[in-house]
């Protein structure tokens, strides 16, 4: 990479680019992370006590987590719900991406993409709040369902996971649609036609031809959606009930309600480890490397 950059931009510009990237990586990513990890292995102390006799390395903060059944439960629930969000988003996005890539005329595809992107010009909190209004006990969704006669009494959508799941699928759908769309778009349409011509129905054509080809896109979309879902704060805070708390909310509480940064850092680090493990597993399952995803 160095040589490519060097050939294209010459030495001074290359140095500038690389050192900017280096500074960004070190100062903005590595050092803060390192500080967090360092925090997590130290007890919470008053400023005066720092560096003193009490300031020792310990695993207490992690032990707290593993001893707290509620936090453990919320942690695993967050994993499970994020997997669910990822799966739902994939199910919703795949037909959409396929339609955009292979069925729609260029005009239709452009219109569709525009309709998908415009809502994303609005802040995530506002979009989520829109769902809060829609899902409200006396909100439009309940009114419509009542009017149509599908239900007799309004449903408490915000009481449980429904709101969170719907809100997250909506919030992260683009992060799934775009990698999928890119992957499917690069498939030679004649491959689909050939499969059909050889007698394959639509199900088999997708299973054997389109999905194997789109695998890197699916993996990328799943990884992004999972990370965003697992790390989401606004959606569960707005659309979730006390029964559907997210692990990020616990982290937030440690930092800003409990004022225990060290404990919060340990929890945040656990979430980071979780995400890395998930990404690795997905990459194994889909047999893709980092290079495929970067595409």
């Amino acid at each position: 990479m160095w040589r490519q950059l060097h050939n294209r931009f010459g030495l001074p510009l290359t140095m500038a680019i690389v050192s900017l990237m280096g500074i960004w990586l070190i100062v903005m990513v590595l050092l803060p992370q390192w500080q967090m990890i360092d925090y997590s292995f130290h007890p919470a102390l008053l400023p005066a006590e720092r560096g003193g006799a009490k300031d020792v390395w310990s695993l207490t903060n992690y032990a707290t987590f593993f001893r707290n059944e509620i936090h453990l439960a919320i942690f695993f629930k967050t994993i499970w719900s994020s997997v669910l969000v990822t799966t739902l988003t994939l199910i919703v996005s795949y037909p959409l991406a396929y339609y955009l890539a292979k069925v729609a005329t260029p005009g239709q595809a452009a219109l569709c993409l525009l309709l998908l992107i415009i809502p994303f010009w609005i802040n995530e909190i506002l979009r989520t709040f829109a769902w809060y209004i829609i899902f409200a006990f006396r909100g439009p969704l309940n009114e419509v369902l009542l009017a149509v006669g599908l239900i007799d009494r309004p449903i408490r959508f915000l009481n449980g996971d429904t709101g969170v799941l719907v809100g997250m699928v909506y919030a992260y759908i683009l992060f799934m649609v775009f990698p999928l769309y890119n992957a499917i778009e690069s498939l030679d349409t004649n491959q689909i036609r050939a499969a059909r011509d050889l007698g394959a129905g639509w199900g088999r054509t997708h299973r054997r031809i389109v999905i194997p080809h789109a695998k890197p896109g699916i993996a990328t979309g799943c990884i992004m959606t999972f990370m965003l879902a697992a790390g989401s704060y606004a959606v569960p805070a707005l659309l979730g009930s006390p029964g559907s708390r997210w692990f990020t909310q616990i982290i937030y509480n440690w930092f800003f309600e409990g004022g225990d940064w060290n404990q919060g850092a340990a929890y945040a680090f656990l979430l980071l480890v979780l995400c890395i493990v998930f990404v690795t597993i997905i990459m194994r399952i889909f047999k893709v490397g980092l290079g495929d995803i970067a595409k």
């Binding site: 030679d188 004649n190 491959q191 036609r193 050939a194 499969a195 059909r196 011509d197 050889l198 007698g199 394959a200 129905g201 088999r204 054997r208 031809i209 194997p212 080809h213």
Partner: protein, 378 residues
């Protein structure tokens, strides 16, 4: 196995654009049939209607006497070989060939047997486990054929499958395709813009232009007796002489095309004096002699000379300013005699009226580089 294909008044429209005018055609079972035409003439659209990728706006398609118009692609007894072959790159050769059989629920052992048979047929036995990406262009071609034949289609549709190959391989594959067609007895419907392919392989050829079939005939008839101006110009080269009929004598017509001598040729349809007509002379029909040979009625100046291996092409400007193309056999050169025809030198020439064709009308619509319009501009 009845592989008859019947097109009954099929037409295809995309909005205001008519891709295929209402067309009827019967292709016999076991025939090697080609659609020949320039790009955009509608031949691929026609193929897509037979394979089922397109539903005709009007009319019907039948295979083996059974109406297929509403039958989806995956249920038709056809198989297609795509222009880019469309082999499945993530699968091995075996899995490619077995795909259609797998779809039909045939068990693994039978599939493998059939795949091996087909690999032998296309002379690639033993390469079943290779990934498709490792094959050469010609090998991919054969695998595409094997994959299509695996589903035992009654009709095999070929969409310019040889266009990506180099010349030698293309010529070799022509022979091979024809041999496979004979061996299997399947109806082959072949789409091409390359007249060489169409003429050498086909039992019959349909020449298409602007969504219309211009003529359906065996290759020899097509070359010798083209029925329209387009066919005369598209299949082989032709020199065109538009003019007016001055005399009719049996099958022979005399034409005034503004040249010093009247032109004579054999008429394909009845003409009377006064009709507008066009006379076509193939480049190989010209007899070119030295400027002093007064037995030859036409005179001109050699404008250019192209060495094409087996023959020499001369571009000769006739006295009236029109330019014709003539092919001369290379016997002189190979005998060590220097060609008397030099660029810039005068010559005289003639053609045999028996070999020249006269068609009614003066077409101006189609001009393409394969035919030379010799409008007299005197």
């Amino acid at each position: 196995m009845d592989g008859r294909v019947t097109l009954n008044q099929v037409a295809m429209r995309f909005g205001d654009f008519t891709a295929i005018q209402p067309t009827s055609l019967e292709i016999a079972s076991g025939e090697f049939f080609s659609f020949l035409g320039p790009s955009g003439c509608g031949k691929t659209t026609l193929l897509n209607m037979i394979s089922g990728f397109l539903t005709p706006s009007e009319g019907s398609v039948a295979i083996g006497g059974v109406d297929m118009t509403r039958v989806p692609v995956n249920r038709r007894p056809t198989a297609m070989i795509f222009q880019n072959l469309a082999l499945f790159p993530l699968m091995s050769v075996y899995r490619n060939i077995e795909f259609g059989l797998e779809v039909r629920g045939i068990d693994r052992r039978k599939r493998r047997e059939r795949a091996d048979e087909l690999l032998d047929l296309v002379a690639l036995g033993g390469s079943g486990d290779k990934p498709v990406a490792e094959l050469s262009g010609g090998q991919k071609q054969r695998i595409a054929i094997a994959r299509a034949l695996a589903v035992e289609p009654r009709v095999l549709l070929l969409d310019e499958p040889l266009s990506a190959l180099d010349l030698k391989l293309r010529q070799h594959m022509r022979t091979e395709l024809k041999a496979i067609q004979r061996k299997t007895g399947i109806t082959f419907i072949y789409i091409t813009h390359d007249q060489g392919e169409a003429l050498t392989m086909s039992d019959r050829v349909a020449v298409m232009c602007d969504g219309c079939i211009q003529q359906v005939a065996d290759p020899m008839t097509l070359y010798r007796q083209p029925r329209t101006d387009f066919v005369a110009g598209f299949v082989g080269e032709n020199n065109r002489f538009p003019g007016r009929v001055t005399a009719v004598d049996g099958g022979m017509v005399t034409l005034d095309a503004g040249l010093p001598a009247p032109l004579r040729g054999s008429a394909a349809s009845p003409l009377v004096p006064g009709d507008e007509a066009t006379l076509y002379v193939r480049p190989e029909q010209w007899r070119v002699g030295s400027a002093s040979d007064s037995s030859l009625p036409f005179s001109g100046v050699i404008q250019a000379e192209h060495f094409e291996g087996a023959w020499l092409t001369l571009e000769i400007a006739l006295e009236q300013g029109a330019t014709i193309r003539a092919h001369l056999p290379q016997a002189l050169e190979s005998a060590g005699v220097e060609s008397p025809f030099k660029v810039g030198s005068a010559c005289r020439l003639d053609y045999s009226p028996r070999g020249a064709l006269v068609l009614p009308g003066v077409e101006r619509g189609h001009s393409n580089e394969e035919s030379v319009d010799v409008a007299a501009t005197a």
